[in-house]
Subunit: 210 residues, 2 copies
Amino acid sequence: MSLEHAILGFLREGPMTGYDLKNVCFDESASHYWTADQSQVYRTLDRLESRKLIRAKRERQTTRPDRKVYSMTDAGTVELDAWIARTDPPPPLRDPFLIRLRFASDLPADDLLGLLRDRRGALQERLESLRVRSAEEPAEPPDRAALLHRLTLDAAVADVRAGIDWIDDSLELLEARIEQEDPTPPGGQSRLFSPTRGARGTVTDEGSAT
Amino acid sequence: MSLEHAILGFLREGPMTGYDLKNVCFDESASHYWTADQSQVYRTLDRLESRKLIRAKRERQTTRPDRKVYSMTDAGTVELDAWIARTDPPPPLRDPFLIRLRFASDLPADDLLGLLRDRRGALQERLESLRVRSAEEPAEPPDRAALLHRLTLDAAVADVRAGIDWIDDSLELLEARIEQEDPTPPGGQSRLFSPTRGARGTVTDEGSAT
DNA sequence: CGGTAATATATGTTCTGTCCTATACTTGTT
DNA sequence: AACAAGTATAGGACAGAACATATATTACCG
């Protein structure tokens, strides 16, 4: 359902081909909150067309293969507006990493901490790439649609940051607990230099304070 | 894959039936980071058994229908440990609400704000139920496994709070923008009493500061 | 001339997850 | 006696998504 309406949303802003939807809309514009496979896009377009929510116009091209330019119908606009006004519960958190963590109690202490640090690194990378994308957007959104797009980026950033902060808190709790369980640190190695965590601020205001 | 390993994880802590896995493990213990359908649990158990990662023992019961108690095999333990040590990228954010928001620019201002406020309410409810569940857990986790379980709860709480904070920021930005676009507030209704947002602290320290 | 990349669409297959229905036995309620 | 609720397992049907592969055209590069 969501993909259908995302496509309707994009098509309302202007006619487009399946190719553009995939490579421009989903890969470049919406990938931080929704992704879609190429095959999924084309099949969904077929379905939307057969339901008369969009309409296709085949275009002969001399320099490129033929393409089908889709545009909204009135029925499509109605359907989209109805869907947008709908309210349904926020999607539940669903993260394999938390399964791992939950059952990682038998891991050697270092591996356990390593698990968290790896995840932290991955989130940090994601945050950086979101920062880049954010920077590409106009600082002052020109219209309401641009502002809403900006808000979706903010949501993704907030999500990743929350993950990083949670990891930092978890690392602290775990390190304390591990020390308490085994009061003999292995050869001064674990406590003496700890590349564990940067200052919290570094995470929060994206590097400017490094 | 994840469900399989979640089941292996639970079974490592002790033999269990499909019924218990569904009603105790997934519905009560793990629901804040992973859920599973009843039919999915039983089918996954079948699959794990056929792959020799778990083993079933049929138990005749006089007072209740027969049940199959599953327990781990050595192969299952190996598989679980390997999976836990694996590192894969954090799941991308994937939220239909952000699709709605992104394409909601044509909505009347009040409806747009209503969309966000509704979502905020739903998240607040979720936060409350997490708070209740958190309170049921021992304040000081007795062992490492209990600590890890606690961390998963913290992750869920952090996730929901990030969502609420993001909404609050978004409401502020949107209200400013709407006012700027239409400098004539409709009959003093929108600005005079604004049930829009509680103090930020209220969200963060769960109601004690109401 | 051959290979790769970009443009453009389409289909087959598989997996995960959800919903629904069915079956069977026991206990407690009306 | 009928019915609901709890315990316990199972399977059909289907939607959404992921993965793989196929095909056609043109442009560019070595």
